[in-house]
C-alpha cells in the first residue's frame, strides 16, 4: 500500500524582476525547480532521490512535507491530499511526517538547549502528561540514538557534528512519525561517522517501521538504504528503478554517467572502468533545453531528442525510464 503518492507535482519559483524590467513589460520568468514529477512510496519502503545539485531533489523533499507550497499537483499522504489541508490541519498532521536536514548546526537553534529542542515537538503535539514524563521520553530517545544523557542540558555549539546530527534525528523521530524525509542527512559528516549514522538509521527504520524519502547525491549510501531509486535531472525523473536497475545496469545515459562517476577502491577496476562523463554544465533551469533536457550533454543524442520530450515509459524489467533510445521497444 502506498503511503505517499505524488502526482504531477510542480514548483516554479518566480525570478525577481527589476523595476526597469517591470516597466518594460519583460515577461515574468520562472525557475522550474520541480517540473511535473509523479511517484509513489510504499509503507516501510525507502525511496532514494539522486541527481546533481540543482536537479530539484531538495525542493521535492520540502514540497512533500509542504514546507513550501507547490505550484501544481497533488501530494497524497495516507490517502489525504495534504496540498488542500488548512494550515491548522497541516500542523496537526506534522507529527506523522518529519525531516532530517543536511546541516545539523544550521538545523538547531543555537540558543536552545538540546533537551528543549528535542522536547519541543512533544509539547507541540501534547505527548506526555507532564514535564517529567516528557523529559523521560526525551532521555529514552537520546539513548536510542546513542547519546549520553548529559547532553540534555548542553547547547548545540558544544557538540560534535555527529552528535548534532544524532540530536536532529532524535528530534525528528521522537514524534514517532510514519514518514521521514532525509535531505542529504549524512552528506556533511566524516566518513566514519557517516557509516555509524547510516547503521543507526537502518536500525531505527526497522524498529519504528519508518518510510523514508532519502535524498542524496552520494550514490554509494543508496545501496544500503534504498529499495527504489529515482534519478532526477533538471526537475524531472529520467529513470526510476530498484537499486539493481540503477546501479548494476543503468539504461538512461544520465544514470550511466552518474554511476560511472562513483570512485572504485580497486585501481585496476577503476582504470578499466569505462568512464562516461557528460560534457558541459547543467543548463539553466529558467530556460531548460527543448526536447529531452539532457540532449545537449548526451553522447547518444539523436534528431528526435532536440524536438520531442521523452515520456516516462515502463520497461519490461520493472523500471521506468524517459529516453528516446528505448522508445522503440
Amino acid at each position: 500500500m502506498s503511503l505517499l503518492r505524488v502526482s504531477k507535482l510542480k514548483k516554479y519559483f518566480a525570478v525577481k524582476r527589476s523595476a526597469g524590467e517591470i516597466l518594460l513589460r519583460v515577461p515574468q520568468r520562472y525557475v522550474k525547480a520541480v517540473d511535473g514529477i509523479s511517484f509513489e512510496i510504499n509503507e516501510g519502503e525507502t525511496f532514494g532521490l539522486v541527481g546533481e545539485s540543482g536537479s530539484g531533489k531538495t525542493t521535492t523533499g520540502r514540497l512533500v512535507l509542504r514546507l513550501i507550497e507547490p505550484t501544481e499537483g497533488t501530494i497524497e499522504f495516507d490517502g489525504i491530499d495534504i496540498t488542500r489541508l488548512s494550515n491548522r490541519d497541516m500542523r496537526l498532521l506534522r507529527n506523522k511526517m518529519q525531516v532530517i536536514f543536511q546541516d545539523p548546526m544550521a538545523a538547531l537553534n543555537p540558543y536552545m538547549k538540546i533537551g528543549d529542542a528535542v522536547k519541543h515537538g512533544l509539547e507541540i503535539h501534547n505527548i506526555g502528561k507532564n514535564e517529567q514524563e516528557r523529559k523521560k521520553i526525551v532521555l529514552e530517545m537520546l539513548e536510542k540514538v546513542n547519546l549520553q544523557p548529559e547532553i540534555y542540558s548542553r547547547y548545540p555549539h558544544e557538540l560534535s557534528g555527529g552528535q548534532r546530527q544524532r540530536v536532529v534525528i532524535a528530534r525528528a523521530l521522537i514524534l514517532k512519525p510514519r514518514f521521514v524525509v532525509a535531505d542529504e542527512a549524512l552528506a556533511m559528516l566524516d566518513v566514519s561517522v557517516r557509516s555509524q549514522l547510516l547503521k543507526l538509521l537502518l536500525d531505527l527504520k526497522r524498529e519504528m517501521n519508518l518510510t523514508f524519502l532519502f535524498i542524496t547525491h552520494d550514490l554509494a549510501t543508496t545501496k544500503y538504504m534504498c529499495n527504489r531509486i529515482g534519478v532526477m535531472y533538471l526537475g524531472k525523473f529520467v529513470e526510476i528503478g530498484t537499486y539493481k536497475h540503477i546501479y548494476e545496469s543503468p539504461m538512461h545515459p544520465y544514470t550511466k554517467a552518474l554511476i560511472s562517476a562513483i570512485p572504485e577502491p580497486d585501481p585496476n577496476i577503476m582504470n578499466s572502468k569505462k568512464r562516461f562523463i557528460p560534457h558541459g554544465e547543467v543548463p539553466n533551469p529558467i530556460n531548460p533545453p527543448k526536447g529531452c533536457r539532457f540532449h545537449p550533454r548526451c553522447p547518444f543524442s539523436m534528431d528526435i531528442c532536440t524536438s520531442l520530450e521523452p515520456q516516462l515509459i515502463n520497461m519490461q524489467d520493472g523500471r521506468t525510464i524517459a529516453c528516446h533510445l528505448y522508445n522503440s521497444h
Binding site: L67, L93, R94, A106, N109, M112, H120, G121, I124, R171
Partner: protein, 292 residues
C-alpha cells in the same frame, strides 16, 4: 577557542583578562565606574546631598566656598545638592525612555519582519519617516504637545529611538526567518508565535543589547536638551538641563559656577554611557574583536 571553558572560574578569569588586558576592556571599566558613580548618587541622593535642593540655603549667586562647594544659584539654592539630585531625573528618564522605545520598537520589528508583505512595507515606511527626522526636533515637537512630566518626556524620547530598534530587529528577523532551524520548527508543527518567540527572538536579541546601551547616552543628552529649552521637568525639581539654562543667564554676572557644574555632570554621564557601550560592543561582538 580551543581552551576548555567548562569551569566557571576559567570563564570569569578569561573575562577579567579581557577587561584589564586591552584598551577596550579598560574603556569598559572606566565607563562602568562613571555609571556606577552616578547611579549611587541617584539612589543615595538624600544621604549624600548636604542641603535640600529646592530650599534657599544661602545668598543668591554665592561663589564656590567651603560651605557651598559648587556655589549657589540665583535663588540661593546649593548647586552641589541640585547636581546630585539632578542625576535622579537624568538617569530615570533616559532609562525609561530607552525602555519604552525598546518595548515599542522590538515587538513591531518582530511582527513586521516575520509577516512581511504589505504590513511590513507600511510599518517600515512609517518608521523610516520617523528615523530621518532630527532626534531633538522630533522630541521637542512631541514634548511640546504632551507637556512636562517624567512620563511625558520619557515618551517623547522613546518615540525618537523606537525606529532604531524597529529597523535593527526587522532586518535581523527577515534574515533569521529563512534559517534552517526555523524551517525545522515549522516541520515540527510549531505555531507562528512559538517560532517567533522561541526560535527567532533569542537569535535577534543580542544585536539590540549593544544599541540599548548606546542609546542611553543619546537619551540623556536629549533629556538635557529638552529641559534646557524649558520642555522638561517643571521647576523647582532639580534637573541638569534646566539648571544649565537658568545658570547661563548669570554668566554675564561672572557666576560661572551656575553653568559649569550641571554642564560637567551632563558631559560625564554621557561620556560614561558612551564608553561603557563602546567597550561592551567590542567585547560582545566577535567580528570587531578579531581585528584587535
Amino acid at each position: 577557542m580551543v581552551k576548555n571553558k567548562s569551569f566557571l572560574s576559567e570563564r570569569i578569569g578569561e573575562f577579567v583578562r579581557d577587561l584589564t588586558g586591552s584598551g577596550t576592556g579598560r574603556l569598559t571599566i572606566v565607563g562602568s565606574s562613571i555609571l556606577i558613580f552616578f547611579i549611587v548618587l541617584a539612589i543615595f541622593a538624600p544621604y549624600i546631598a548636604p542641603y535640600d535642593p529646592t530650599e534657599k540655603v544661602g545668598l543668591s549667586l554665592e561663589p564656590p566656598s567651603r560651605q557651598f562647594w559648587f556655589g549657589t544659584d540665583n535663588l540661593g539654592r546649593d548647586i552641589l545638592s541640585r547636581v546630585i539630585y539632578g542625576s535622579r531625573i537624568a538617569l530615570s528618564i533616559s532609562f525609561m525612555g530607552v525602555a519604552i522605545a525598546f518595548l515599542i520598537g522590538v515587538p513591531l520589528g518582530l511582527f513586521s519582519g516575520y509577516l512581511g508583505g504589505w504590513v511590513d512595507r507600511i510599518l517600515t515606511l512609517i518608521m523610516d519617516a520617523m528615523y530621518i527626522f532630527p532626534g531633538l526636533v522630533l522630541a521637542i515637537a512631541i514634548a511640546a504637545v504632551l507637556g512636562p512630566g517624567v512620563i511625558n518626556i520619557s515618551l517623547s524620547i522613546a518615540v525618537v529611538y523606537a525606529p532604531t530598534y524597529f529597523r535593527i530587529i526587522r532586518n535581523q528577523v527577515a534574515s533569521v526567518k529563512s534559517e534552517l532551524y526555523v524551517e525545522a520548527a515549522r516541520a515540527l508543527g510549531a505555531k507562528n508565535w512559538e517560532i517567533l518567540l522561541k526560535y527567532i527572538f533569542p537569535n535577534v536579541l543580542p544585536s539590540v543589547v549593544v544599541v540599548l546601551s548606546m542609546n542611553l547616552a543619546d537619551a540623556l543628552m536629549t533629556e538635557a536638551g529638552l529641559s534646557f529649552l524649558g520642555l522638561g521637568i517643571a521647576p523647582p525639581t532639580p534637573d541638569w538641563g534646566f539648571d544649565l539654562s537658568s545658570g547661563q543667564r548669570f554668566v554675564l554676572s561672572r557666576a560661572w559656577w551656575g553653568i559649569l557644574f550641571p554642564g560637567l555632570a551632563i558631559v560625564f554621564a554621557a561620556l560614561g554611557f558612551s564608553m561603557f557601550s563602546e567597550g561592551i560592543n567590542e567585547l560582545l561582538n566577535p567580528t570587531i574583536r578579531e581585528r584587535r
